[in-house]
């Protein structure tokens, strides 16, 4: 016991570094054991959990795709029947979009954004814990349902009337709709946390023009989530009401409309693509800057492109409905807007090219994935321009051409940057380096396997092969390419397997990483690898876009925060001028209880509408427990 323990309201100004670290650790650390694990609100622990869970879903979804490829390798194969196949492709799409792609991007942000903006925890950390539990519950609901042969079988887009009360018997479609609610609640919660973190918790001095591009991209993404997710909320609620209590939203005979569903779904569904892609833009920008040893060319242009993409994203949902028989004038407008989005995307590509051209490239694994991204994503963008043309789209819509297109966009445009980002930030997250040699092999296999798997699908689509078919007849000229595609998928899978092995092995026994192994310039590298529970012992002060490059000697920091409670600093939106000190909430089990109560309510509501009434009682109790002050210093400050 040191004499200082008795001093009330101790501040970091009075302490030496060792003592400061000790005290901050005891204030911020998550207690060991099950209780600590369940009640933690540390953004790094939750972010890590989120990332791992999302990658587990990626692996599961990948296994589903291999099953589909096995079935499609030959004509009239009998490996999987139509009923199971429909469940499998629905699960693959739903899982990859709702349980992998969106959550993994948010998960990376949950981990990285507070570090990159130089704060100690995300805004609303308990909401963050709640959002993870909701996500996990939604994922479990979907996968357990699938395991017991009750998985949704109506496609990830769940078009009515096929998913409606008359044609989707049983609870399969209800499970889909409620799973959406789970992931939607968790995504919206994270989006709110990120917006507030970026707006109000940036390090003093980090004005809007000094935010790292990854943070900008997550800010725009969060706004996209906030504006887009309510559409699917309305849609899935209407669907469940139609199915459960007999509302008539989608019944044309009673004034409803089938296309209403498609409008609502794609008003969400198209921004969804950018919700997945924009974070990847941020990752690419970060990696490019680090591995070319210079800041990204055209920072302002990049930010404008992000915002422009975000706005345009809401103006092109109809290009998913070009063959639904809408008025021609409307279609023409959406052709123009869909094509126009190529301009900001093009700007981003050119800026990265300029950065590489002007920089000094270092060919490490993360950078290799970015190069792979450039090659693949540009193809995906080109085919995107193709499907934006109405006449072109009438031939390729709902064919394997589109399957190829969006895999080029989503795998090329998001998974490649994501894998690069994992290699890049792995040392920060785990404190250990990944293996460079295995990384190169994994990249090579994934890049080759991906192109061999998905490029031929363009041709299959043009040859008339529709999507979502569980088999095809031997007289169709598709069997050769399909066999080729299925074999190539094995290469792709091998690449992913290698990546997973490398990640697990490195996390356990990789070489220990220094604080800043890549000589990067953003704030997350200013702290140790992995960061301590409190992220920074004193709040960093920022004066440029590259705080670590411009202050190679010592990091400017601010002092004056309490160490006996979880304090961080709140700054103004534009200039990041300090406005207040703020206590960040401590660990709490109530988010878990609230998530469990919500889970019971949502699953119960598949069976009776009264669940909404009775199920909200425990939920209200849990939420009251969550917000009721416990008399801690954080509560009463």
């Amino acid at each position: 016991m040191t004499p200082l323990d008795n001093v009330a309201d101790l501040r970091d100004t009075d302490l030496n570094d060792v003592e400061l670290d000790r005290r901050l650790a005891s204030t911020w650390a998550t207690p060991k054991g099950v209780w600590g694990a369940l009640s933690t609100v540390d953004h790094k622990i939750i972010g890590r959990r989120y990332i791992i869970t999302a990658f587990v879903f990626l692996a599961l979804g990948g296994i589903l795709s291999l099953a589909m490829r096995l079935q499609l390798a030959q004509p009239e194969a009998r490996f999987i029947g139509p009923d199971r196949y429909n469940q499998i492709f629905t699960m693959h799409g739903t899982n990859m979009m709702f349980l992998f792609a969106v959550p993994v991007m948010e998960a990376m942000a949950v981990y990285l954004v507070p570090l990159m903006v130089g704060t100690r925890n995300i805004a609303f950390p308990r909401l963050n814990a709640f959002s993870y539990w909701m996500y996990l519950a939604g994922g479990l609901l979907l996968w357990i349902a699938f395991a017991i042969d009750t998985g949704p079988d109506v496609g990830w887009f769940a078009d009515v009337p096929l998913s409606g009360p008359q044609y989707a018997a049983g609870k399969r479609a209800d499970i889909w709709a409620q799973m959406i609610t789970f992931t939607e609640v968790s995504a919206l919660a994270v989006a709110v946390e990120l917006v507030v973190t970026v707006f109000k918790q940036r390090a003093p001095g980090m004005s809007l023009d000094q935010i790292p591009l990854f943070v900008w991209s997550m800010l725009v993404t969060s706004f996209l989530i906030i504006m887009a997710m309510p559409a699917i909320m309305i849609a899935s609620t209407a669907l469940i009401l139609d199915r459960l209590v007999g509302t008539q939203f989608f019944n044309p005979a009673e004034g409803g409309d089938v296309l209403l569903w498609q409008h609502l779904f794609w008003f969400f569904g198209h921004p969804e693509v950018y919700i997945i892609f924009l974070p990847a833009v941020g990752m690419v920008s970060t990696i490019v800057a680090t591995f070319t040893r210079r800041p990204v060319f055209g920072y302002l242009g990049m930010v404008m492109a992000l915002i422009a993409t975000g706005i345009l994203a809401f103006g092109l949902w109809v290009h998913h409905m070009f063959v639904a028989g809408l008025p021609r004038l409307g279609e023409s407008f959406f052709t123009a807007s869909s094509m126009a989005i190529a301009i900001p995307s093009g700007l981003q590509i050119f800026c990265w090219l300029a950065t590489i051209w002007a920089g000094r490239p270092v060919f490490k694994t993360p950078f290799l994935f970015v190069i792979g991204f450039m090659v693949i994503f540009v193809i995906g963008g080109m085919t995107g321009v193709m499907v934006a043309s109405v006449p072109f789209d009438t031939q390729v819509h709902d064919t394997y051409f589109v399957v190829a297109h969006f895999h080029y966009v989503l795998v090329g445009g998001a998974v490649f940057p994501l894998l690069g980002a994992i290699y890049y930030w792995f040392p920060k997250i785990t404190g250990r380096m990944m293996n460079e040699t295995i990384g190169r092999w994994a990249f090579g296999l994934i890049f080759t396997g991906f192109n061999l798997t998905f490029f031929p699908m363009h041709i299959l689509g043009l040859q008339g092969m529709p999507r979502r078919i569980y088999t095809y007849q031997p007289e169709m000229p598709w069997s050769g390419l399909n066999m080729f595609v299925s074999l190539s998928a094995v290469i792709l899978a091998a690449g992913f397997l290698l990546f997973f092995i490398d990640a697990i092995r490195s996390a356990l026994s990789g070489p220990v990483a220094p604080a800043n192994p890549w000589c990067a310039s953003t704030l997350e590298w200013a702290t140790s690898s992995p960061p301590p529970a409190y992220n920074f012992s004193r709040m960093p002060v920022v004066g440029s876009l590259e705080p670590l490059v411009d202050n190679s000697g010592a990091l400017p920091v601010a002092s004056g925060l309490f160490v006996d409670r979880r304090e961080l600093v709140v700054t103004s939106v534009v200039g990041a001028l300090p406005e207040a000190r703020e206590s960040s909430p401590g660990d709490s089990i109530w988010p878990l209880w609230s998530a469990l109560a919500t889970t019971v309510l949502l699953i119960w509501s598949i069976f009776t509408p009264w669940a909404v009434v009775w199920g909200s009682v425990p939920l209200a109790i849990a939420l009251t427990g969550w917000f009721w002050p416990k008399g801690t210093k954080e509560d009463d400050a």
């Binding site: 100004t13 309510p230 004034g255 920091v557 601010a558 002092s559 002050p629």
Partner: protein, 200 residues
């Protein structure tokens, strides 16, 4: 990494109010989410209306009484609400306590009137798409009144507990007041949409 102290934060207030408060921004973000939801519900209403041969579908236009009373009630509730926010800013515990009790009552009153709005639509949710959308719109707004009422009740209880007199609680109260303004504000376009658009 070595550090040089360049800034002293110790003079800052220990808790931000208004735009310096995180919960203020969080409330704003949730209002944006729900506002989009309300806007989409209205969009669905207008979309269905654009498809229908006549509107409202197989029903007379809704009776105005209940809806109008509720609208007036909600608008009237804004005045005590703004006062509560002002008192919370002044950290006046006694007045805040009274104001919260008034606001709790003003949260319950519209719920009672709302009960009469559903029959005023002259048809049930399962009769046709018009019935479905008006019930969903009313239901959506009702849940917002309800959740804000529960929040107000919990805050009222808090203000009478030992945790009450605390700047953080006052911040919560002004955020809650802001949210109530939002609940009232979203109702106005819904009211016009539900009660007056069918009379056009």
């Amino acid at each position: 990494m070595k550090q040089t102290i360049v800034l002293d934060l110790s003079k800052l207030p220990p808790h931000g109010l208004g735009t310096a408060s995180l919960t203020w921004w969080g409330t704003l973000a949730f209002m944006l989410i729900e506002g989009t939801g309300f806007a989409l519900a209205i969009a669905v209403y207008l979309y269905l209306m654009s498809l229908a041969p006549q509107w409202p579908l197989h029903a007379p236009a809704p009776d105005l009484l209940a809806g109008t009373v509720l609208t007036l009630l909600l608008i009237a509730s804004l005045f005590p609400n703004i006062l509560v926010a002002r008192w919370a800013k002044a950290q006046d515990l006694r007045k805040v306590r009274i104001g919260l009790i008034v606001m709790s009552l003003l949260g319950i009153a519209p719920l009672i009137v709302r009960v009469f709005e559903f029959p005023a639509m002259h048809l049930n949710w399962d009769q046709n798409a018009y019935g479905s959308i008006v019930w969903v719109m009313l239901g959506l707004h009702t849940t917002h009144i309800l959740t804000d009422l529960i929040d107000t009740l919990v805050l009222t209880a808090l203000m009478f507990s030992r945790h009450g007199d605390n700047p953080r609680r006052y911040g919560d109260i002004s955020d809650n007041a802001m949210y109530w303004n939002f609940v009232v504000a979203t109702w106005l376009p819904m009211y016009i949409c539900l009660y007056w658009v069918p009379r056009l």
